[in-house]
């Protein structure tokens, strides 16, 4: 269906049609044969994926299929959960982040994360941004400049430049989330992981974050989990569709990657019936 593109409703029409090809020319991260366990429970299995440099990749799929689990595995935040374990390899610039001698602290600095619920620290706006560079011992010429730069990149500077000393808790939800993005980029990561970053925001705040992501992708690689199909279609270069497979014997639900491709392909020409059903809203 080559003509489907033009017929697609406006809100589902991707922004970057033609920019991405099937082949990921410059992958910054590779997920190879990854299984993630919580104790004995295998939450995700056999995932193979690559994330292209300066691309936005969306992870979509029904609730409980392991999107957050996989995302947290990408920067070893899952290590913090008791009993969580990753099999397989996750390569970042070619190096396995679960390899021997790799410091999870450094992994998390290089691969930042933005959470579903905005979680500013109960400190001033300034200190929220300065916190990361301080604790990671980053060499900074001028902290003021770094704070300004981070807030500017997160499209928040103009709104807060006169109240940097005020508590971040006083900001609106959308501003808080942009503050969290500014905080994430203050330590100069290569990749930013976002787990449903707009789930608690209104449509206007959501739109601002989406615009912001388009700006950020020039410098960073973004992986976003979203439940909002339109959002995936609007912002992502590539989309990975996951689902939960029910084991016949035990009834255990395990997340599997069903299909991965350019967003255009996934939304307009899904190869797998399950993807098509999900995209068209017939299930999930």
């Amino acid at each position: 269906m080559a003509s489907a593109h033009d017929d697609a409703p406006m809100h589902l029409r991707p922004m970057h049609t033609g920019q991405v090809t099937d082949h990921i020319a410059r992958p910054i991260m590779r997920v190879e044969n990854v299984d993630v366990y919580y104790g004995d429970f295998r939450a995700v299995t056999e995932v193979n994926l690559a994330f292209g440099l300066n691309e936005i990749t969306a992870l979509i799929g029904p609730s409980g299929c392991g999107k957050s689990t996989l995302l947290r595995s990408l920067n070893r935040m899952n290590d913090l959960i008791d009993g969580a374990r990753v099999d397989g390899e996750i390569l970042f610039h070619g190096e396995n982040i679960y390899g021997k001698g790799v410091d999870p602290i450094e992994v998390r600095r290089r691969i930042g994360m933005v959470f579903q619920k905005p979680n500013p620290f109960p400190k001033s706006i300034y200190d929220n941004i300065a916190y990361g560079p301080r604790v990671t011992g980053m060499k900074v010429d001028s902290m003021d400049d770094l704070v300004e730069e981070s807030l500017t990149r997160a499209a928040l500077w103009d709104e807060v430049k006169d109240k940097l000393k005020q508590s971040a808790i006083g900001l609106s939800g959308g501003q808080q989330q942009r503050l969290c993005i500014a905080r994430a980029i203050s330590v100069r990561p290569d990749v930013i992981l976002m787990d449903e970053p707009c789930a608690s925001l209104d449509p206007i705040a959501t739109m601002r974050i989406e615009d912001l992501m388009q700006e950020l992708r020039k410098q960073y690689t973004i992986v976003i989990v979203t439940h909002n199909m339109q959002q995936a279609a609007r912002v992502a270069d590539r989309t990975a569709f996951f689902t939960a497979q029910v084991s016949e014997g035990t009834g255990a639900r395990t997340g599997v990657l069903v299909e991965y491709g350019t967003t255009t392909q996934i939304f307009e020409d899904p190869k797998d019936q399950r993807t098509e059903d999900y995209i068209s809203g017939r299930f999930g």
Binding site: L80, P122, Y131, V135, C180
Partner: protein, 303 residues
Amino acid sequence: MRSLKDSVATAPTLPLSTGERPRERRLGPMMFLIVLWLSLLVAVVFLLTLIVNIVLEGGSRFGLQLFTEYPASSPDRAGARPAILGSIWVIGVTAVLTIPIGVAAAVHLEEFADKKHWFNRVIELNVQNLAAVPSIVYGLLALAFLTLIGVRDKNIVIGGALALSLLILPVIIIATREAIRAVPSEIRDGSLALGATKWQTTWRQVLPASVPGIATGSILALSRALGEAAPLLLLGALVFVSFDPNGLLSGFTTLPIQIFNWTGRPQEGFHELAAAASILLLGLLLLMNGLAIFIRNRYQKRW
């Protein structure tokens, strides 16, 4: 398609009054409420009687003399100066001893210890139980310890502080753990996701956020220690102290013990002095509790 307005208008209206409710449903809550009020009344009346009583009895003796004079054989010349200073010394040293240890123990149990390990479970159970142990037992423990290390004169500031520290340590640990647990995990995740270490996250995020809770718990615990007499009596604090305590090894007496002492004297004047000292002690306790409540309300939930 019918509009919403129409459908509301045409919906069958159910009367909100459903007639008489069964007797039991009216009477039960009523009785319960009355019992609650009576209990409250009893408590308040007792407290008021107590306060009015000691104010009436000790009011006339509540003056400068109480603060400046030393105990004497005549009530007209006697004051509680050494007891007041003794209380300050003992509680101050207790605070210095307990708060750092209690907070450190709580941080370890909450943030670093493997909660599933049997050893930590035993410790946890013990802390809970220790908080319920009668205070005199801690006096015995301190007494035994001081004997063991060969201290002959056990009525010394550091000895009293030791007994009171043992007494309130579990309370401070429990209060601190609760304060730490109240810090949302999102804050920890946010810090760790930036590349902060566990230690930095605890020190720079979790602890500052739990300071109000720790302060509240510590003040309440210290106010309990301030009113405590039994463990100190065991160490021999019921003595005639006619000097200002001036160091860790100095002899001392405290306000509750001074009150106890005066109450046991036959002269009416000493009973009045005891009441005056009680006013002071009650005032201090109220002040500390008020401060704790103020801190709790002022700094509650900033996220």
